[in-house]
């Protein structure tokens, strides 16, 4: 239903061959939010800047293309934000979601800098919108990009271009020459062949490695085969690997990432935001043995949204099914793929290739455990179960009004946290604890400095913008001295 034959092809972008004699002040690897913020800030600091983006023009900007908002501290309500969000509150939130797995000094620095981002990013042409219908009750803490992440990128690219930043697409960096913490040159592969680029300083802003299933397997084992990757196939972590191999200090571990449960029918890569499902709280979630495995009503979505990826990853075959009835069908945002529908639970099980008797039993046991209460779709209510494990602590209603519905879900990896260690300047730290001479990192590639685990919506862009700007500034300063 979703595909149509031969999509019209976007315009080709012609580029001149690279000048082998040229030495840039700053080389930026990557083409997303972090890369563009770095490129713009380096250029504004007077440096000559080259951006190498592995993706084609249309796919430029990695996972940033899929984003919608960023989280910035602010002291009062604005046109786009419904109330104040102080630095302290931001810090408390971050401490809570990461359970303390964060570098306080860097995190506090990022939060302080995030205040200024609200105006800086607008000065670079990005526009925000007032929070509206689909904004997931984040209207106070998060600023939403008008038109989404790709619109945001279009604005940043336009600004970069106007400032004279040179951008090359279809330009994957395949090798870095680094000596004792000093970047010397990069080898770039383009359609016309490979060439060497020299620059006085390097900003690595090439994202995480979530599209590199082999790497994910090192932490997760074979089950990573069954993960869906929500964003760009270009984030394979090749630059991150090279940096680690050149003795840059690693931060975080390979299993830490943002993972949610998304529609199992989503494409392997790049399905983006629209494959999310926000109906877990209204039904029950069973694995392919027809067993429930976690309290579906623990907390309101989206707060608990980010735990379901891991929960489903721990189930057999990394698949689970959200089961609900006709009463809940219109309580949540419409989905991309329609739910699977049947007139009875047994029939639904058959469509899902589950054991009908087992599913019927799980549902009826759940139904029998539901206690009376007052259902409130928007707030944690007093509808709970008694006498079953796991309990469902809110929004527990019998699943008994046909037709019955199901969504199959799989773990969808958003982005990874393992990265390179940096300081406040966004300068890389080497394995021996020394500062790198001329190498900076921003965005997903260093997100683990702030996010040891967990996630708070919109923080990916905050990390990219704050450290991107700092990296650009630092790299330009180094290059011009």
């Amino acid at each position: 239903m979703l595909q149509r034959s031969s999509p019209a092809v976007a315009k080709a972008h012609v580029t001149q061959p690279l000048d082998p004699e040229r030495r840039y002040d700053v080389l930026v690897i990557g083409g997303g939010n972090a890369a563009l913020c770095a490129a713009i800030s380096a250029r504004r600091s007077g440096a000559s800047v080259l951006v190498l983006e592995a993706a084609a023009h249309f796919y430029r900007g990695g996972n940033t293309r899929h984003t919608r908002n960023m989280r910035c501290a602010h002291d009062s309500a604005t046109e786009i934000l419904t109330g104040p969000y102080t630095e302290d509150e931001f810090w408390e939130d971050l401490k809570r979601v990461t359970q303390g797995h964060t570098d306080e000094e860097l995190a506090r620095y990022m939060i302080a800098e995030s205040k200024d981002m609200l105006t800086w990013i607008v000065d670079q042409g990005v526009r925000f919108q007032p929070s509206l219908g689909g904004t997931l009750s984040l209207g106070r803490t998060n600023s939403f990009f008008l038109g989404g992440g790709r619109a945001m990128l279009n604005a940043l690219y336009l600004t970069a271009e106007r400032l004279g930043v040179e951008v090359r697409y279809d330009a994957e960096v395949i090798e870095l020459e680094i000596e004792n913490g000093m970047f010397l040159s990069a080898t770039v592969k383009e359609a016309s062949g490979t060439s060497t680029v020299r620059a006085a300083a390097l900003v690595a802003a090439s994202g995480g490695f979530e599209a590199n299933i082999e790497w994910l397997k090192q932490g997760w084992g074979e089950i990573a085969e069954n993960f869906l990757i929500r964003g760009t196939p270009y984030n394979r972590g090749t630059i991150l690997r090279m940096l680690l191999d050149h003795q840059v200090k690693q931060i975080g571990d390979v299993t830490q990432c943002h993972a949610v449960a998304i529609d199992a029918r989503a494409p392997k890569f790049d399905g983006g935001i629209i494959t999310r499902l926000d109906c877990v709280i209204y039904g029950i979630v069973v694995n392919n043995q027809c067993q429930r495995f976690y309290d579906e009503g623990e907390d309101i979505w989206p707060k608990r949204y980010a735990i379901w990826g891991r929960l489903v990853a721990a189930q057999p075959d990394q698949i689970a099914y959200i089961i609900f009835d006709a009463r809940s069908l219109e309580l949540f945002m419409p989905s991309l793929f329609p739910p699977i529908r049947a007139d009875s639970i047994e029939e639904l099980a058959t469509l899902l290739e589950l054991d009908p008797a087992k599913l019927a039993e799980t549902v009826s046991r759940f139904n029998a455990a539901v206690q009376p209460g007052t259902f409130d779709p928007d707030n944690p209510d007093d509808c709970a179960t008694a006498g079953i494990r796991p309990a469902k602590t809110h929004w527990a209603r019998e699943i008994d009004v046909g037709p019955f519905y199901a969504y199959p879900v799989r773990p969808g990896i958003t982005f990874t946290y393992l990265g390179v260690k940096v300081n406040k300047e966004a300068r890389m730290i080497m394995a021996d604890g020394k500062q790198a001479v001329n190498m900076f990192a921003a965005g997903e590639i260093m997100a683990g400095n702030v996010l040891g685990q967990g996630y708070a919506a919109g923080i990916g862009m905050t990390i990219g913008s704050v450290f991107g700007r700092a990296a650009g500034r630092g790299a330009a300063k180094y290059a011009r001295n």
Binding site: Q3, R4, P7, G133, G134, F144, L146, G148, I273, I274
Partner: protein
């Protein structure tokens, strides 16, 4: 099931967009979409006519081609929109004129001009046709005012009736009660939105036309065209009033009908040229290729109306006046009678769609 493949595709896209909603701040289409969970033909026709074709949601979309989700809202809504003109046309047997619309309009225009030339030749002496006329009533030596008024009045009336019937068909199809069209606040909101082309601005930065850079000037050119047209309309109305007050055309250059007509005429020259230029530059992926002729024909007719009107102003004291007049009123006549069967109708459907949107917003 939907009536056409364009509607089926529009349904698919609205389902994708409704689960995304990133574009909700850009224009009216997305908030209107969010008020629905499923999309009937009528809903889709409503959304398609709300769309101003600013192009922003194509370049801002992470799923536009070559992404496998192949989301191209501007193009598909343009297709649905032009199909809807055809479906609502009154009387229905003339709906075919939307197919090969460029050709149809050219033929009607040519026939109309020819008819006036032949009429002048048959019914007036050639000496009158090629003579130089001066002073009040000069035009009416070629065609008496009452004949002209009756002919154009009838053509105009016909256009109004046919367009109204089309709007009625649209209104029924989208399932909106008649009462909405007389709701003062909704009407006023729609007048403001339409007269400023609020949704032809790419959500604030400007429209996109050739690529993702918001360099499009269609909004400006559309203002020239629309207000030019309105000024010409005001000029004709003023002249009609003058006539019945006993002051006959042609009027001196400083008189109200000529001043309005000249300003309007300039708008109708600059505007359509600008719009045509933007049209030729437009990224083909945004366009409904099949309807190129319709858009071009409409702009060309407006341009010709103005050009011949200006020529008439310049040549009115020379022997070329007779033929120029035939040319001008031939074009205007053709413009009138083809109004219900060409791009002209877009303004009406879009306006009433905005009225409904204003109501829906208020009731939210």
């Amino acid at each position: 099931m939907h009536a056409t493949s364009a509607l089926t595709e529009a349904d698919r896209l609205m389902t994708v967009c409704n689960s995304c909603r990133y574009c909700e701040g850009i224009c009216a289409v997305f908030p209107a979409m969010e008020m629905r969970r499923a999309f009937s033909d009528g809903d889709l026709n409503y959304l398609a006519n709300l769309c101003h074709s600013c192009g922003a949601c194509y370049y801002d979309c992470q799923f536009s081609p070559p992404h496998e989700f192949n989301v191209n809202v501007p193009q598909v809504l343009a297709q649905v929109r032009s199909e809807s003109y055809e479906a609502y046309a009154w009387p229905q047997f003339l709906s075919g004129s939307f197919q090969r619309n460029g050709l149809v309009i050219s033929i009607v225009a040519a026939l109309s001009v020819a008819a006036f030339v032949i009429g002048f030749v048959l019914f007036r002496d050639t000496s009158v046709l090629f003579g130089a006329h001066n002073g009040p009533g000069a035009f009416y030596k070629l065609m008496p005012h009452n004949e002209m008024a009756a002919l154009f009045g009838a053509a105009f009336l016909y256009a109004i009736v046919a367009i109204s019937m089309g709007v009625r068909n649209f209104w029924r199809d989208i399932g909106e009660p008649a009462g909405t069209l007389v709701q003062g606040s909704s009407l006023w909101q729609a007048i403001k939105d339409a007269s400023t082309l609020r949704y032809l601005d790419g959500g604030g930065v400007g429209c996109m036309n050739e690529d993702e850079k918001p360099t499009d000037k269609r909004r400006l050119y559309h203002h020239f065209t629309f207000y030019g047209f309105m000024l010409c309309f005001a000029s004709t109305s003023a002249a009609t009033v003058y006539h019945y007050l006993g002051r006959e055309a042609p009027y001196p250059w400083y008189d109200l009908p000529v001043v309005l007509g000249t300003l309007g005429g300039l708008g109708l020259i600059v505007g359509p040229i600008g719009l045509l230029r933007e049209k030729f530059r437009r990224d083909p992926v945004l366009q409904d290729g099949k309807k190129y002729g319709m858009d071009v024909a409409f702009l060309a007719m407006l341009f010709m109306t103005s050009l011949t009107g200006m020529a008439l102003l310049l040549l009115r004291a020379t022997p070329a006046m007779g033929l120029t007049l035939a040319l001008h009123i031939g074009i205007v006549f053709a413009l009138f009678i083809t109004m219900p069967y060409g791009k002209f109708v877009h303004g009406f459907y879009r306006f009433v769609a905005l009225v409904r949107y204003a109501k829906e917003r208020r009731e939210l």
